[in-house]
Symmetry: C2
């Protein structure tokens, strides 16, 4: 078997069926192996940044995503997307086509190099934004492939695999074909000890609560956490990034209590958290946006148990050497039933009659989206702007996946990411909510939705500029303006046929049945320029203050 | 004066009137200072990669360009463009808005960071692709601003200036306002010695020739080299990258002999170079594409004098410590007249009648463009694909600027670069030649052409895919296909009103008057999928062989 075929086989073995990227002359030979294999499909994006976002969106659904670029020009264009995957623990394997070994070894100034060719120039750029990076040689390839893939599987961070084009045709031995990753599970010698401390504390507690974070999805703990919730019937809140992290519909419907993010929590949640005498926090991440701008709040930290990939913290004591999977299994067997401790979360009712005749506005719009547009099992992709901060406080239908970038917050991310989601989960409906400013960054990728007739509905929030920036600073400064496009004609020119334009709530209500249909479409929604969702205003005021500190 | 105002003043002092970028919350305060100043205009691109290309195109016309991005997400998206500026010695000052010093110093995991915040994460990515990089602090800002700007002015490489947002409002003293860059000229103690050796060799020679490279433009030697040519009346060839580097129309018209690039030279040039007993090579760069794929050729290197930014090589001996400006001045005073040594270059005649009724084809098309479309003083921007390799062999009108990326060869570069050219030189007509595959990477930036009604004509070569990749490898492989857009409707949706679609030569001839008019427009030209310009085929065969070596 040739190395090229082996790499494709490896990709397939990692559970990846589609890979994203852009052809370039140092990866063309690798693309031949993909074509030949018939096992993995090539999805050609319009550019590499978009490809990196698509691979990220794909990996969030599929566990792992693969991105293929060419040396220098291609890989550097993808750096922002790969860094976003790092920030959000999304496992993207970035395969970079390098010039031939003889060119690299002799530092020959070929095209797609800086002229002052140094073979590690670009690898160095990726070191801080990947879990592991390598350039293969004839001598190192066995252990290096093992090392970077194992690192990706353990840390969930992106990995960088540079392959000189001539090596792809090298014959490799059968032993290597059977190579097994030296993927090492976390130690687990303390599971019982720590499990017993947690059980004792929890079982004695009167008002326990669970706070769930996004790493439950990233580290593959969804089913074990759901088991704990099912066994204990415990009610739970999530962080902002943990939005909709529990995909079990029954549990999500009955046990979800809202979002805890200190000052940005949904109604009633802060009081519940303050009352609680045992908070089990799982897979949460501390960032400015996720934790309410690091706002102070009255939680008694002695009552908090924090379970993270590398450690468990109980009160002030930190334990390591624990397999989180096994600990959660142990907990599901040893924690007591704690049913209906807090009042159940009700569904908001919206009186549509009061909205008739009115123009669209942010405050009223998002609850309607939550109630009327989003359905169970949808994948909801929310751009870090009006869309994200409009949707976060809503009680969304159970069983959805919620895709966003609260930490990295790269505008333009969601359009290509939604494409990745749709390709990874072809049976689900993908709803993308994105503002016009963000849309312009990666807009050409609408082309891919049309090409594959993906089940993606684009809700384009047209409010004439960078609204999240206006909210933070300079609401009327010209630098926050963008040039007005004819967005529907734009989408049409790229092959989208189903188009709607909506300015008023009546038009919106009239169009709801059509919006809820399957299939590629774009719905343009007009809002006032300085109309912000309430949470966005609240958060951006805090960010503006931090910038001056 | 506040630091923010000082930076804007500095930008202005560097001769920059427009800066390119995308707003992001860590640079918004800096954008206020730009707005306030009324001295420098903000040009908001659709995304940061496009902005970096525009800043590069601007800098090629203007000497220096400025790019403004936000920390993490913004700057990384621009990495490919900045690396291209490095490869081509284009001076782009990359100003990056950083979070407040207190956030950086305390490693707080704010948004637009990796969570595991390390303040130099992204700076490290830019170290290999910039001449100098820095993050300002309250203590270092005087010497650091001096250091990175001086480096940029000397090396012509891009510079990276990270500014924590809170520092912008810091008052700085008047002394600093008057700060003079410690820009150090090259040493010049050997100008006379080396100048005399060159003069003796040249004046004795019977068949001298000059070979000119792109660094003549980058290092500001155009006028001194032109003086040498005027004084000696010497005939000259250029490398591929040096295409149209002499902008003096009289000299360009009478003394230009064609391109020397070994196997890819234009007709007759190799023989002249082989005959020559004294070749003066100025500002040339050795890369695979520029030198004819490193092809071997029969030049006697003992007769070659090579003048480069840091050194002069005469035969086998290398001299340093020379100011190239002064050396060229010395040469213009001491070299003898060497008029009409080689037969003058004739203009190709095209018989339009033979083309009537024919579909467009690459071989016949580019000579027509050279004769009928491009006019003196135009800026011609050629994408590294069919456009570049179609135009390079043509004898183009005198006085044009020729913008391309032969070394870095990042597809998609030229559309935003053409915008930069048009903004830097508003009185000149910009002609952009770009293929459909490349166009898709950065297509949304057409928006900026419409917004400012720039004098840019886009000639879109629609040949249904990545033609340069097809020529190198896999002509019929699906990965070289792209999704067909309605390009004219696309351009219209972004505000371009003047549109043409052309399939046959008669249509082309009929439309020529309209094409030659000033103003923003797009002309779509249809070619056969596997029709390559002859030079592209020749070069790509060699690249394919190198990939297998």
């Amino acid at each position: 078997m040739k190395l090229g075929s082996f790499i494709v086989k490896l990709v397939k073995q990692l559970g990846v069926k589609q890979v994203f990227g852009v052809p370039g002359d140092y990866n063309l030979r690798f693309l031949d192996f993909i074509e030949e294999s018939k096992k993995v499909d090539w999805i050609g994006n319009c550019n590499e940044l978009n490809a990196s976002y698509s691979a990220d969106g794909y990996a969030r659904e599929n566990g792992i995503g693969v991105l293929v670029t060419t040396h220098g020009v291609g890989e550097l264009s993808a750096a922002n997307g790969v860094a976003g995957s790092f920030a959000h623990n999304v496992s993207v394997l970035h395969i970079v086509g390098y010039p031939s070994s003889s060119i690299i070894d002799n530092d020959i100034p070929v095209h797609h190099t800086l002229g002052n060719y140094k073979k590690n120039n670009f690898l160095e750029a990726f070191n801080p934004i990947c879990g592991a990076t390598t350039i293969l040689t004839e001598l190192n390839y066995i252990e290096e492939i093992n090392r970077v893939i194992s690192n990706m599987l353990t840390t969930k961070k992106p990995a960088y695999l540079g392959i000189p084009t001539n090596l792809l045709d090298m014959e490799i031995s059968e032993d290597i074909e059977d190579m097994i990753f030296r993927f090492k599970n976390s130690d687990d010698y303390r599971v019982e000890e720590v499990g017993n401390i947690i059980s004792a504390k929890f079982n004695q507690s009167k008002k326990p609560m669970m706070l769930l974070g996004v790493n439950i999805a990233r580290f593959g703990w969804r089913s074990v956490v759901t088991d704990v919730l099912r066994k204990t019937q415990l009610q739970f809140t999530t962080t902002l990034m943990g939005k909709s992290v529990i995909s079990d519909k029954e549990i999500a419907r009955s046990n979800y209590m809202g979002i805890y993010a200190a000052d940005y929590s949904t109604d009633g949640v802060v009081a519940h958290m303050q009352e609680s005498d045992c908070i089990i926090s799982i897979g949460t991440v501390e960032t400015d946006l996720n934790t309410g701008g690091f706002s102070e709040h009255d939680i008694n930290y002695d009552n908090v148990i924090t379970i993270r990939p590398q450690s468990v913290k109980i009160g002030k004591k930190v334990y390591t050497g624990i397999s989180v999977d096994k600990l959660l299994e142990y907990m599901s067997e040893n924690l007591d039933l704690k049913k209906d401790i807090y009042p159940r979360l009700g569904q908001k009712n919206i009186d549509k009659n009061t909205l008739k005749g009115k123009k669209l506005n942010q405050k009223d719009f998002w609850p309607i989206v939550a109630n009327e547009i989003i359905k169970e099992d949808d994948i909801v992709v929310a751009e870090a702007g009006s869309a994200l901060f409009g949707l976060l406080p809503q009680n969304l239908p159970a069983g959805i996946d919620f895709v966003s970038q609260i930490l990295w917050a790269s505008i333009g991310y969601t359009l290509p990411a939604a494409i990745g989601s749709a390709i990874a989960a072809p049976k689900r409906r993908v709803l993308l909510f994105i503002g016009d400013g963000s849309f312009q960054l990666t807009a050409q990728e609408v082309s891919l939705i049309a090409k594959y007739n993906l089940n993606v509905t684009i809700f384009l929030i047209n409010n004439d500029g960078y609204t999240i920036e206006r909210a933070i600073h300079g609401p009327n400064q010209p630098y926050n303006d963008i040039y007005m496009w004819d967005y529907l004609q734009f989408a049409k020119s790229l092959g989208i046929k189903n188009l709607m334009s909506i300015k008023r709530f009546d038009e919106f209500f009239d169009g709801i049945d059509k919006m809820r249909e399957d299939g590629a479409k774009m719905i343009e929604l007009f809002f006032e320029k300085l109309d912000y969702p309430p949470l966005l205003k609240q958060i951006s005021d805090k960010l503006a203050a931090a910038n001056q500190s």
